[in-house]
């Protein structure tokens, strides 16, 4: 639960910083928000990779080839844009009512 709480509190703190409208606070808010987005993507992709590994090892075989290559996984674990790309593949951003996150972070 603590992990979830800290993520929300990070976004909450960014809101407080943004309300000040000073240059430093706005920059700090951007860093917090960017990191919060990256954490959410990381956790979801981590879950998806684990799911894939689980089914790859189990007797219950899912049809189709491997969804994520090792290179894709490695890049997504280390860099921001590959995380966005794989998250887009999950349909995460389409579910958002807000304008595309990928666009906002371009």
């Amino acid at each position: 639960m603590q992990r979830i709480r800290l993520l929300y509190e990070q976004v909450e703190e960014a809101k407080r910083l943004i309300s000040s409208r000073t240059l430093l606070q706005l920059r700090l808010a951007l860093i917090l928000l960017d990191n919060a987005a990256e954490l959410m993507m990381y956790r979801e992709l981590d879950y998806q990779f684990a799911m894939e590994d689980y089914f790859a090892r189990s007797t219950v075989r899912l049809p189709g080839k491997q969804k994520y290559t090792e290179a894709e996984r490695r890049r997504a674990e280390q860099e921001f844009r590959p995380k966005v790309k794989l998250s887009q593949g999950l349909g995460i951003f389409q579910a958002s009512r807000r304008p595309s996150f990928a666009c906002a972070t371009r």
Binding site: M1, I4, I18, L30, D34, A37, F80, S96, P99
Partner: protein
């Protein structure tokens, strides 16, 4: 824009506020969109900071954290009092317009205050030609003990066709029109994407003009000091 901000420390104060607003609302929305697959409540009941958090976000208990109703409540709490005033497209548009006007002003300054468009355009093209090819043509002509004029004229005409100038007054004016139209973008994220596209295109020219203006200023200051 993310790379500029985090890896090069470059942020534009004129648009930072509305960009932060947009990113906040986007990330807040993502907290609802990303699934929460599992979590543990030690002892079965949230205590301490966790309990305070649940109260602050209007949740009755920790079990609500992962369900849609709970996430909707938390999203509402996050965005409470935040109004996106849709000033972003106008701010982005104005910022680019001012920067493009600054480029034209800089070009004019570098041309002894000239405002004649065709003169500015010619000098803008010729400067690029000189960097890419002209200086080399001049050097070779000099080595061959020839007057460089004809070689330069021929090379310039060829260069105008292939590869051609990267920056022209036509392009600057087209970017200016595109910058103006950003103000009417319906989605702030769309405005931001268009802004980033134009910014990428104009940045090398903007940087070049800025440096040339600084060099000219420095040169003039040195001459002023020499006179004293």
């Amino acid at each position: 824009m993310r790379n500029d901000a985090f890896h090069r420390g470059e942020t534009n104060p004129a648009i930072l506020g509305p960009v932060a607003d947009l990113l906040f609302l986007t990330v807040a929305e993502l907290t609802k969109v990303f699934p929460i697959h599992s979590y543990v409540v030690l002892g079965g009941t949230a205590g301490g900071e966790n309990a305070d958090f649940l109260v602050r976000f209007g949740l009755d208990n920790a079990h609500e954290l992962g369900d849609e109703t709970g996430k909707e409540k938390m999203l509402k709490k996050l965005v409470e009092g935040v109004v996106f005033d849709s000033a972003l497209p106008a701010a982005l548009s104005q910022d680019l317009e001012e920067r493009l006007d600054g480029i034209v002003d800089g070009l004019s300054y570098l041309n002894d205050g000239a405002s004649d468009r065709s003169q500015l355009d010619h000098n803008l093209r010729y400067t690029q030609f000189w960097r890419e090819r002209g200086a080399e043509v001049m050097r070779k002509a000099h080595e061959a003990s020839r007057a460089p004029r004809d070689d330069l004229d021929r090379a310039y005409e060829e260069w105008l066709k292939v590869p051609g100038p990267r920056f022209t007054m036509d392009k600057v004016e087209r970017w200016r029109r595109q910058a103006t139209s950003i103000a009417t973008a319906k989605h702030p994220a769309d405005a931001l994407a268009r802004y980033v596209g134009i910014q990428r295109a104009i940045s090398p020219l903007e940087e070049d003009v800025r440096e040339a203006v600084a060099e000219l200023d420095e040169h003039i200051n040195m001459l002023v000091k020499e006179r004293r």
